[in-house]
C-alpha cells in the first residue's frame, strides 16, 4: 500500500498529494465517528447471549419448570450479592482477597522484573540463573503449598508467597524474553549517538521493552488471581475464596456464584487499572491496538 502511494507521487507533486490526502482525511472524520458508534452497538451484541440465558433460566424457575436449588436464578444471585454488600461482608472479603493478590503481585513482579532484567541482559547471568528457574517453573505452583505452610505458617505469609510464585514466572519470562528480542539495530542507533550504558537503558532498552513488560505484568496479575483462589481454599477465614468454600459447605450455590461474579469483576478491574496506568507509556502502540 505504501509503495503504491509512493509511486503515485513524485517530486513537487508529493506535497500537494499529501495535503489533499489530509483534506480527504478531515472530510472522512465524521464518517469515522459514525463507524465508532456502529462499533459500540456491536459490542452490545455480545451481551445478548448471556442475558437471554439468564432470562430463560429466570423464567424456567419462575414457572416452576425447575427448582433452581443447585443453579439459582439470577434474581436470587443478585439478592445474595445485595445482602452480602449490605452487611459489608462482600467488601471485607473482596478487600482481603485484593490485598493478598496485590501484595503477592508486588513481590512476584519486582522479583520477576529484577531477575528477568539480569537474565535478559547478561549471557553469563542467564546461563547461571535460567536453568534453575526453568526447573522450578516445571513444578506446579500448588505443589509448594505444604512447604510454604510448614515454613511460613497457615496465615497470610504462605498465601502471599504462593501468589508471588505464581506471578513471578510469567513476569520473569516476559521481561527476559523482551530484552533478548530487543532489536540490535536500534541499539546501534544508540551507539552511533554515543549513549552511555545508562542512557542506552533509559532511552532505548526501557521503551522498547515496555509493551511486552505490560503484557507480562498482566498475565502475572491474572495468575495472581488464579492462585489467590487456591490459597484461600486452604484454610482462610476471610476472602472471596473463603466465600466459595463456605458456600459449598453450607450448600449455598447462590453465594458461590455471587463470589465468582465478585472475582470476575475484581480481576477485570485490576487488569483495567494496570492497562490504564501503562497507557501513557505505550501510547505509541495505540494505533496498532485500535486497528486490531
Amino acid at each position: 500500500m505504501t509503495s503504491s502511494r509512493e509511486s503515485a507521487v513524485s517530486g513537487n507533486a508529493e506535497t500537494v498529494a499529501w495535503s489533499s490526502q489530509e483534506g480527504a482525511a478531515a472530510l472522512a472524520a465524521p464518517d469515522f465517528a459514525e463507524k465508532r458508534r456502529a462499533f459500540d452497538g456491536r459490542i452490545l451484541l455480545g451481551f445478548l447471549l448471556p442475558i437471554a440465558i439468564a432470562l430463560l433460566w429466570e423464567a424456567a424457575v419462575y414457572f416452576g419448570l425447575s427448582q433452581g436449588r443447585l443453579i439459582p436464578p439470577p434474581s436470587r444471585i443478585l439478592a445474595t450479592l445485595e445482602a452480602l454488600a449490605k452487611t459489608g461482608e462482600l467488601w471485607a472479603h473482596s478487600w482481603m482477597t485484593l490485598w493478598r493478590v496485590l501484595t503477592g503481585f508486588a513481590i512476584g513482579a519486582v522479583a520477576g522484573i529484577v531477575l528477568g532484567t539480569l537474565s535478559g541482559s547478561s549471557r553469563t547471568i542467564r546461563q547461571f540463573l535460567d536453568p534453575t528457574l526453568q526447573a522450578l517453573r516445571a513444578i506446579p505452583s500448588i505443589a509448594w503449598v505444604p512447604l510454604f505452610i510448614l515454613w511460613l505458617g497457615i496465615f497470610e505469609a504462605s498465601k502471599v508467597a504462593l501468589i508471588a510464585v505464581g506471578v513471578f514466572f510469567p513476569v520473569y519470562l516476559g521481561i527476559a524474553g523482551a530484552i533478548l528480542s530487543l532489536d540490535r539495530k536500534l541499539v546501534e542507533v544508540g551507539h552511533v549517538f554515543r549513549l552511555s550504558r545508562l542512557q542506552l537503558a533509559r532511552r532505548i532498552l526501557l521503551p522498547a521493552v515496555l509493551p511486552e513488560a505490560v503484557i507480562a505484568l498482566r498475565s502475572g496479575l491474572g495468575l495472581g488471581f488464579m492462585f489467590v483462589v487456591a490459597a484461600e481454599f486452604m484454610g482462610a477465614s476471610e476472602g472471596l475464596g473463603y466465600l466459595l468454600v463456605d458456600g459449598q459447605q453450607m450448600g449455598k450455590p447462590d453465594q458461590i456464584v455471587a463470589a465468582i461474579i465478585a472475582f470476575a469483576l475484581l480481576g477485570k478491574i485490576a487488569d483495567s487499572l494496570l492497562v490504564v496506568a501503562s497507557m501513557p507509556l505505550v501510547r505509541w502502540q495505540d494505533t496498532v491496538r485500535e486497528r486490531l
Partner: protein, 262 residues
C-alpha cells in the same frame, strides 16, 4: 579530510570482508561506493562509523584517529531505524541531547521543513511511508551537523520516483553545511546524480577496483550526454571488476584524456 589507510577487516568467522582499502575523501566531497553485494561496502561504513573494529589499518578524520563512534560522524542505515516510541520530531532530535531546548526546536523544525515533513512532526514513524521514514532518518543524521555523513544504500528499498525526490532532499540538506559524504549505492544513476567521485569495489576480499571522478556541473541534468557517458564509464568499470578480478584497472587518467579528446 577523511583518510583510510590500508584498512582491512576479517570477521570472526574468517570472512575477509575488506582488504587493504586506502582512500582519501576531501572535505565536502561526495564519494559514491559502488559494487555488487558482498563487496564489503557496509563493512567499510561500519568501520568508519565506529560500530565495528578494523582488523588492520587506520581511519583518520582531520588527523584524529577514529576508534569508536565519533560526534562528527553520522550514519544513515539502509533501513530507517527510527525509534517507534518517539514521534517524528523526537526521532530527529534524538542525537541533540546536550543542546538547549530552543536550539533543538529550531534545528529540528528547520530540518523538518527541508525534508518537507513539517506537518508530520507529531506523528509516529509507523504512520509514515517508507520514503518519509527514510527522510526522517536522514534528517536525524543531519541535525547534529556531522563533518562526515555515511549513507548505506539509503534509498535502495524505495521506488524510482521516491528515490529521485529523496536525492533532491538530500542535496538540499547537504548544500547547507556541506559535510563530507560517503554514499554506498548499487545504483549507478544515483552515484552520477549525487557524487563527485565514484569508487568501484570488488568482492572476495573487498577492495577498491577503480576510482572515477564525476566532474559534471550541478544541478545535474539526468538526460544530458555527459550524464549518460559518466553512467557508461562506471558501468564499464563495474563490468571489468566482475569479469577480470586479477586484471589491473585501466587508470582513470587515460580515460579522461580520451574523454577530452572526444
Amino acid at each position: 579530510m577523511l583518510s583510510l589507510k590500508h584498512l582491512s577487516k576479517t570477521y570472526a568467522d574468517g570472512t575477509r570482508a575488506l582488504s587493504d582499502i586506502t582512500l582519501t575523501v576531501h572535505e565536502g566531497e561526495i564519494v559514491a561506493l559502488i559494487g555488487g553485494s558482498g563487496c564489503g561496502k557496509t563493512t567499510l561504513l561500519r568501520l568508519i562509523a565506529g560500530l565495528d573494529r578494523e582488523s588492520a589499518g587506520r581511519i583518520r578524520l582531520d588527523g584524529e584517529v577514529l576508534s569508536g563512534p565519533h560526534p562528527a560522524v553520522g550514519i544513515v542505515f539502509q533501513e530507517p531505524r527510527l525509534l517507534p516510541w518517539l514521534t517524528v520530531f523526537e526521532n530527529i532530535a534524538f542525537g541533540l541531547d546536550g543542546v538547549s531546548a530552543a536550539e533543538k526546536n529550531a534545528r529540528v523544525s528547520h530540518a523538518l521543513e527541508k525534508i518537507g515533513l513539517s506537518e508530520h512532526a507529531n506523528r509516529w514513524p509507523r504512520d509514515l511511508s517508507g520514503g518519509q521514514q527514510q527522510r526522517v532518518s536522514i534528517a536525524r543524521a543531519f541535525v547534529t551537523n556531522p563533518k562526515v555523513l555515511l549513507l548505506d544504500e539509503p534509498f535502495s528499498a524505495l521506488d524510482a520516483f521516491t528515490r529521485a525526490s529523496l536525492h533532491e532532499h538530500l542535496l538540499g540538506l547537504w548544500e547547507e553545511t556541506r559535510p563530507t559524504v560517503v554514499l554506498v549505492t548499487h545504483d549507478v544513476q544515483e552515484a552520477v546524480t549525487l557524487a563527485d567521485r565514484a569508487v568501484v569495489m570488488q568482492p572476495k576480499p573487498g577492495r577498491i577496483f577503480d576510482e572515477l571522478p564525476l566532474t559534471l556541473a550541478r544541478p545535474r541534468d539526468r538526460t544530458g550526454l555527459p550524464f549518460e557517458s559518466s553512467v557508461r564509464r562506471i558501468l564499464t568499470a563495474l563490468d571489468h571488476s566482475l569479469k577480470a578480478p586479477q586484471e589491473q584497472p585501466q587508470r582513470e587518467r587515460d580515460r579522461q584524456a580520451a574523454a577530452l579528446w572526444w
